[in-house]
């Protein structure tokens, strides 16, 4: 039996949400910083290589004796420069006045930087490039050598760095989320155990909840619940004690009165006095009956029944005992009282169930004319135990069926000396046992079929 508690977000979900979101953000920040920290040295290394290129070209710049600056680049040098690269390499050597000396004449000419060599980003022939510019001093002035490369290998290494950092961090994130899930699960285990313990309890159970291993956050709650249970148990025991005493104090004198009257009647020779005594006896019997019913009613209240009272009861045995008790009365009334019993075991309080069945049989006999038939049936229907009492009597009008279980209700066709408590007891006993009480017309719309289905 699980209770739906999703109306408010569960603690597990809350914890997961409030831990997973920050953890993800922190990891993302980590990825970004890994990337940028990883990028910097790579960029430095590539820049240095570019600067080395500039330096090696600058080494071939000479101020000739005729006061001209000459660049004598051997082919191998250019070869070396352009080799092993996925990038296009460009260069340009500029005279002190900025005029073109060698290389690619249209290569941008960056402004002189503070450092030497200095680095710049620019565009060339529609592609982004990185420039290293190196100023070398000759007799004739400062010559600027610029070497540039496209960004392919830099991009490749960026991509590698980024995907490396991302994949590692995604794995980390997955691991962290899994650990969070596990950890939260473990931390919530005592709560889960408490919840299962509560779900297993019957609604009537009043024994204290086992508080061992219950986390501090909910132990107050458990303590308060246990205190409430203890209070209820006390008041129940007091109530039961009271009813037990009341039963004893009422029944013993009633028994005495009844027995004395019976004896008196059998000894009384005068018919007129015998008749009076019979009136007194019948009134006493009615009083006894009502007392018995009131006590049963009080004991079938939810507030007095204890979980420990509930045992496995076979309704067939209860029904058989009840039928046996009513055989003589049925025979005297000319009613065929019988049973169709199949085993029907349910959890219940046997003597209260007997009380309920007695009342049903009693009613059926009262409202069935001589020559009629009353049958008690028990068995299983769709796996649920049921008990029904069918009669061929006057029936209960449909509009009265809802009221007949009210205490002291007496229908329009009521007869005899009924107290109006019989079906109220049946109703209460049904409620106490989570049984469904239904009242219908008997077969071919004649008589009554009262059914108790134990779910």
């Amino acid at each position: 039996m699980s209770t739906k508690t999703d109306s408010a977000l569960s603690i597990r979900r809350r914890l997961l949400l409030w831990l997973a979101i920050p953890a993800t953000l922190i990891l993302l920040a980590g990825t970004a910083s890994d990337y940028f920290w990883g990028i910097d040295p790579v960029r430095g290394a590539y820049d240095r290589a570019l600067a080395d290129g500039a330096l090696s070209i600058a080494a071939h710049v000479h101020a000739s004796p005729d006061s001209r600056i000459r660049v004598r680049l051997p082919d191998e040098a250019i070869e070396v420069l352009r080799s092993n690269s996925s990038d296009s390499i460009y260069f340009r050597v500029s005279a002190p006045d900025g005029s073109f000396l060698a290389g690619d004449p249209d290569l941008p000419h960056p402004p002189p930087g503070a450092s030497n060599p200095s680095f710049h980003d620019s565009m060339f022939r529609g592609h982004p490039i990185r420039l290293a510019s190196y100023r070398s001093t000759t007799r004739l002035g400062t010559v600027t050598t610029v070497v540039a490369e496209t960004l392919n290998k830099r991009r490749q290494i960026h991509d590698q760095l980024l995907s490396g950092a991302l994949s590692v961090d995604l794995l980390e994130l997955a691991a962290i989320l899994a650990l969070l899930w596990l950890g939260i699960g473990l931390a919530l285990k005592p709560l889960q155990a408490l919840r299962e313990q509560l779900a297993r309890r019957s609604a009537r159970a009043l024994d204290p909840i086992d508080a061992t291993g219950v986390p501090a956050e909910v132990s107050t709650l458990v303590t308060e619940l246990n205190r409430l249970f203890a209070t209820l148990t006390d008041s129940r025991s007091a109530q039961r004690q009271f009813l037990q005493s009341a039963a004893h104090q009422l029944r013993t004198p009633l028994t005495g009165m009844q027995a004395q009257l019976e004896l008196l009647i059998s000894e009384e020779p005068t018919p007129a006095r015998r008749e009076r005594l019979a009136y007194a006896l019948s009134a006493t019997q009615r009083l006894s009956h009502t007392t018995q019913q009131l006590l049963a009613l009080a004991r079938s209240e939810h507030t007095t029944a204890m979980d420990a009272d509930f045992r496995a009861v076979d309704l067939a045995e209860v029904a058989e005992a009840s039928v046996a008790d009513h055989v003589s009365r049925a025979a005297a009334a000319g009613i065929d009282l019988g049973a169709e019993l199949a085993p029907a075991v349910t959890e219940g309080i046997a003597w209260l169930l007997k009380e309920a069945v007695n009342n049903l049989v009693d009613n059926a006999l009262t409202y069935t004319p001589s020559g009629g038939v009353v049958t008690v049936r028990t068995g299983l229907r769709d796996g649920a135990a049921f008990l029904e009492v069918l009669d061929t009597g006057v029936g209960i009008p449909a509009e009265e069926r809802a009221q007949v279980t009210d205490r002291f209700y007496r229908g329009r066709q009521s007869r005899g000396t009924g107290s109006g408590l019989g079906l109220a007891i049946v109703g209460d006993v049904a409620r106490l046992h989570d049984a469904v009480l239904s009242i219908e017309s008997g077969a071919d719309g004649q008589g009554t079929c009262v059914r108790l289905e134990f779910l």
Partner: protein, 222 residues
């Protein structure tokens, strides 16, 4: 036939005592378990009616004590309490029957007669049920001293019903009671034997059919 009534309530005790005396029993009434033990030591009784709710030592203790001493007299317990726990307890401790207050004196007497009948039947092989007498040793039934002519099977059924008079006996139980080595008996045959038996008994005793449950022998026809 001698009955001991152990009941602390004087009004109930006196009425029960009076009823037994009227029925022709020799009856004694004591009001405590202690007194009961004393008289049970001194006298012979055929039956005891014991209230559970006695002061000081209760009826269940008295019953336990009796059974521990090996006293096998039939005991019927009375209680004013609800529930079956007393009943289960009493029957476990060896009570033979049980009645909840308030009861009808007629009911108490009928139950006591049944207890005495069973105890007596096993002891003396004689069973009396109303106007009906059964001699278990000679397998003979008579009505007011006039012998009844019964077949073997009719006798077996009557014997089984009489030993359980006042109680419902299932058809299965009657079938096994009539079982002989030579042949089998069908449920229908039981019905035939019962109806023959009824006509032979006349109004000496009534065999009631309780549909779906079995048969019950009652002392008097209502």
């Amino acid at each position: 036939m001698r009955v001991l009534i152990v009941e602390d309530d004087r009004v109930v005790g006196d009425a029960v005592h009076g009823a037994f005396v009227r029925e022709g029993y020799a009856a004694d009434h004591v009001e405590s378990a202690e007194r009961a033990k004393a008289v049970l030591q001194a006298e012979h009784y055929d039956l005891a009616v014991v209230d559970i709710g006695l002061p000081r030592e209760d009826g269940l203790q008295l019953l336990r004590d009796l059974r521990r001493r090996g006293r096998h007299l039939p005991v019927l317990m009375l209680t004013a309490r609800d529930g079956l726990s007393d009943r289960v307890n009493a029957l476990d401790l060896g009570a033979d029957d049980y009645l909840t207050k308030p009861f009808q004196v007629r009911e108490l007497l009928a139950r006591c007669r049944a207890l005495v009948r069973r105890a007596h039947g096993t002891a003396s092989a004689q069973v009396t049920c109303g106007a009906l007498q059964l001699d278990l040793a000679h397998r003979e039934a008579s009505r007011d001293g006039v012998p009844l002519k019964l077949t073997h099977r009719e006798w077996s059924i009557l014997e089984c019903l009489a030993l359980n008079a006042g109680r419902i006996v299932s058809k299965d139980k009657l079938m096994s009671a009539t079982l002989s080595f030579s042949d089998e008996i069908t449920p229908n045959a039981v019905e035939v034997y019962v109806s023959r038996l009824r006509s032979k008994l006349g109004d000496a005793a009534a065999i009631r059919v309780i549909r779906g449950l079995g048969y019950r022998l009652d002392e008097h026809k209502n």
